[in-house]
Amino acid sequence: MLLEVNDLRVSYHTDEGVVRAVDGITLSLDRRETLAVVGESGSGKSTLALAVIGLLPKTARVEGSIRFLDRELTTLREEEFRRLRGDRITIVFQEPMTALNPVFTIGRFMRDIYLTHREGSEEEALSLAREWLSKVKVPGPEKVLNSYPHELSGGMRQRVLIASSLMLEPDLVIMDEPTSALDVSVQAQILRLIAELKSQVDASFIFITHNLGVAAAVGDRVAVMYAGKVVETASKREIFSNPLHPYTKGLLKAVPKVSGGEVEPIPGTVPSLVNPPSGCRFHPRCPLADGRCAEEEPALTEVEPGHWVACHRVSGMGSGPGTGGE
């Protein structure tokens, strides 16, 4: 296993109370595997990403364990963690418009990354950067190296960031909603690019998205998160053919379809993480909820090999009650 997350909990103390952004998550990732993490905003998926790359704010309290390359990341010294970041673990954020330093050229940025982690000359840095810019299909890599971020389009910037993440051939690349800030047409291009790159590099990916459709496009496995917890995890095919958790089903209905069918949003809103609902956190929005759901928290159980779900109403049977499947 490249990455093993075990009962990870991340909480913050705020004026309003303790926010439990991630509340007991366990998952693992193999080499060259892609895990898509899906959930609405506020479900804790970005916190999970930040916890793995060690960029949580200092005020965050982390419990549980994250093992990566046989090292325990939660207790790793900051300096050692820093050396991992950008080299072994990289991340591509959502907002390409603000993720690049406005006062430096792309070349300067990529050069700094290279020189931070590798012994080498500036020329070597720039030639590697040039090479990777070509790989992410940036037209005129030389010109881009000398450009400032504001001179590039959003899609172009995201390509630059992807190139920067892959340049040093990392083991794990986290993509935190890398396309959601982009125009729809650009989104598709970037998704295609990512899918293409996946086969070219020797890295594992964690792909974070709120869109199950996007998750389907890139993920080998999918983990669905709700209110700081994983509610269902299974292979891509399994999730789509046999979604068990009512939330997962809701998400599937909310995906815009190419055929143009009705989009049904899930009623209600994401609950507060300070005072989450008792029992199953989804029960206030769940069409199937009963009295037990409000009292007892369901555990994540393996209902089929590799298919885990946390729902009382699924209750260990092959298929959930009232499921029609798709």
């Binding site: 950008g86 603000t98 430096f104 982690h117």
Partner: protein, 309 residues
């Protein structure tokens, strides 16, 4: 770089109407001062005819617009006429005083920038800790401190108690220490506040997180990636403060009897010495506009986004 060149030229051209406006206001306001300079200049036993003669000699009988054109024409040549009372040319009085104030302000600014930026970074790196609160309070004290009172306190400490530094006058580098310290401390307070705020803002920016996410070391992230951005608003504040120092030095100059431009202007106001007041205010305001222009240009160097705008 042609973008930059175009920007610089445009910015300089933009300053011209402002300067014209400044010159008109300076010219007009001076004519609203009470007291008739011709009357003031004449010897006590002068007759009305003699006063008129003096008025003519000073050009005070011509229509206003004509006086303005003459005034501007001369000003562009750097000629501001003669002091009404000592007969020295205004330039003779103005430029040494200007140089003094400039020296004082530059020293104070240098001092203020170094201390202020360091203080600001120091505080911003650990927001809401004791050391941040200490810096924040200190800078708030600084901007609330009456500069003349601060001057008096420094005199009390360094001149009266310790007998280390002169309490006033000019001529040696020693005389510059207390006045520039006084001005510089106030400047440092403003710069410190601005740096802290801007640094905090920048440190919360995505690109700083990105830089960290790629494992760039803190030194690089803070002192290169963040600071370069954080300094952009600081430059504006510093420009404003520098302008403020050029003019606000009058209080410091009074406390330390430092022969600078501010004092020259105030004394000239008291003496109703028209040409000096006119030239002095014009020079300070021009400097102020020039500094603002320079700041904008500096901006363009630090911040590539501006060049297009």
């Amino acid at each position: 770089m042609s973008d930059l060149a175009r920007y610089v030229i445009r910015r300089i051209i933009l300053a011209i109407p402002t300067l014209l406006g400044v010159s008109v206001i300076v010219f007009l306001m001076i004519h609203m001062l009470p007291g008739d300079p011709a009357q003031l200049l004449a010897p006590p036993e002068a007759t009305i005819q003699e006063v008129e003669m003096i008025r003519r000699r000073l050009g005070l009988d011509k229509p206003l617009w004509e006086q303005y054109i003459i005034f501007m024409g001369n000003a562009l040549k750097g000629e501001f006429g003669k002091s009404l009372f000592t007969g020295h040319t205004v330039s003779e009085l103005l430029w040494p005083a200007y140089l003094n104030t400039l020296t004082l302000s530059v020293l104070a600014m240098g001092f203020g920038l170094v201390i202020g930026v360091l203080m600001g970074i120091y505080a911003a790196l650990r927001p809401n800790t004791v050391r941040d609160q200490a810096v924040t309070s200190l800078s708030l004290f600084g901007i609330s401190m009456p500069v003349f009172w601060l001057g008096l306190i420094l005199i009390e400490i360094f001149s009266v108690w310790l007998r280390l530094l002169p309490s006033g006058g000019s001529g040696t580098p020693k005389h510059l220490i207390l006045p520039s310290l006084t001005l510089g401390l106030v400047g440092a307070a403003y710069v410190g506040r601005a740096t802290r705020a801007s640094m905090l803002e920048v440190l919360s920016q995505e690109y700083v997180r990105t830089a960290r996410a790629y494992g760039l070391p803190d030194r690089l992230v803070i002192y290169v990636y963040a600071l370069r951005n954080a300094l952009i608003p600081v430059v504006t504040v510093a420009g404003l403060i520098f302008g403020y120092m050029m003019a606000g030095a009058v209080l410091t100059e009074t406390v330390f009897s430092f022969p600078g431009l501010g004092r020259l202007i105030v004394n000239a106001i008291f003496a109703r010495d028209y040409p000096i007041v006119q030239a002095g205010i014009l020079v300070v305001a021009t400097t102020f506009v020039a500094i603002n222009t320079a700041v904008d240009i500096l901006y363009a160097f630090i911040n590539p986004r501006i060049r297009l705008g």
